[in-house]
Symmetry: C2
Subunit: 191 residues, 2 copies
Amino acid sequence: MTDKINRRGEIIRVASQLFIKNGYESTSVRDIAAGVGCTEAALYYHFKSGKRAILKEVVEVLVPMLFNVIVECRDAASLDALVAQYSRRLLDVMSDQAEVLRWAVSEFPNFGEEERAFFYEKQSMIFSHFVEMIQRYVPDRAEAQQTVWIIMCISIGYIQMFYSFNVKSTPYGQQVHLGALLARALSLPPP
Amino acid sequence: MTDKINRRGEIIRVASQLFIKNGYESTSVRDIAAGVGCTEAALYYHFKSGKRAILKEVVEVLVPMLFNVIVECRDAASLDALVAQYSRRLLDVMSDQAEVLRWAVSEFPNFGEEERAFFYEKQSMIFSHFVEMIQRYVPDRAEAQQTVWIIMCISIGYIQMFYSFNVKSTPYGQQVHLGALLARALSLPPP
DNA sequence: GTCTATAGCTTGATAGAC
DNA sequence: GTCTATCAAGCTATAGAC
């Protein structure tokens, strides 16, 4: 009810940023406390099991961000339109997306059973949802699944390549366009 | 000339493994010394600038591994054959490749200017080389470049998805085949 | 080249007052 | 709920003997 009602949420928010920026191991409980503007001891009041408990809740905030772009592309008129919309939407949130993806890859080995289970559950939900969306245009289920894998692999690879590694196009090559890559890979007319 | 001639190389070898397994930050100089079988002080004899200097040389060993798979697929008779050969070869070394890729993604933000420059130089060399290989079958340069980007993005995405995250295929779906994904994305006959 | 010893710092976590 | 104070354990790095 007071305006400090959300110390806990604030801790998660600050911790997310720090974990993404510096990694879990390199972020100290002190750093988090400083960011929030309280002492370390106060953190241990809110999260009895300490740093690990904070990670767990951060995962529950960040992992959904990884997959949610997809859901927002319902009601496209065709596969072309869906792919165009998807890649536009993905590029909009790319910087965030790239950070979260890089973080997820880095931190995944440190995840415990619970965090992994949560990740797989979200991934699986989104995959099914995506396949259903694609089946409107590609009725054959196996083919729709393959389409989804291609979109997902290209998206992940593209993000890693051009955002995490910040690869510039080579001297000869103009900027690489995600939409064009996806269109070519799915044999759609170029955007 | 003695059999301890390569203490230095041994340090790099052990450090590479530990950095990949636990990350740079979480690997202590003590861990490396223990793995090598000497004291920390001895490490500081071989690497005057300490842990950081070790990272620099580890990068020079690991980054080339990331890209070298590609080079080994010369002299294929067709694009189909090249892609088939490439994905077979990549799957052979996939575990290593996945580990090194995950490590590179994780550690990239900690790289200094020199390490980044080294990374980009290798990446650029391999990209050019790959484009030339593809141009035997796809003479148009822009199209050959796009082909390479598609192969690279799908490979990276596939590795991250199925090795770094260890995503199992969903209930409905059979195992996802890298070669099939690449063939479909490049409009080649399925393998 | 390799060792022992240690300086000087940061870490995650807790006890106990308010 | 939040604080001060403190802890043991860990860290990188160096000095100096052999």
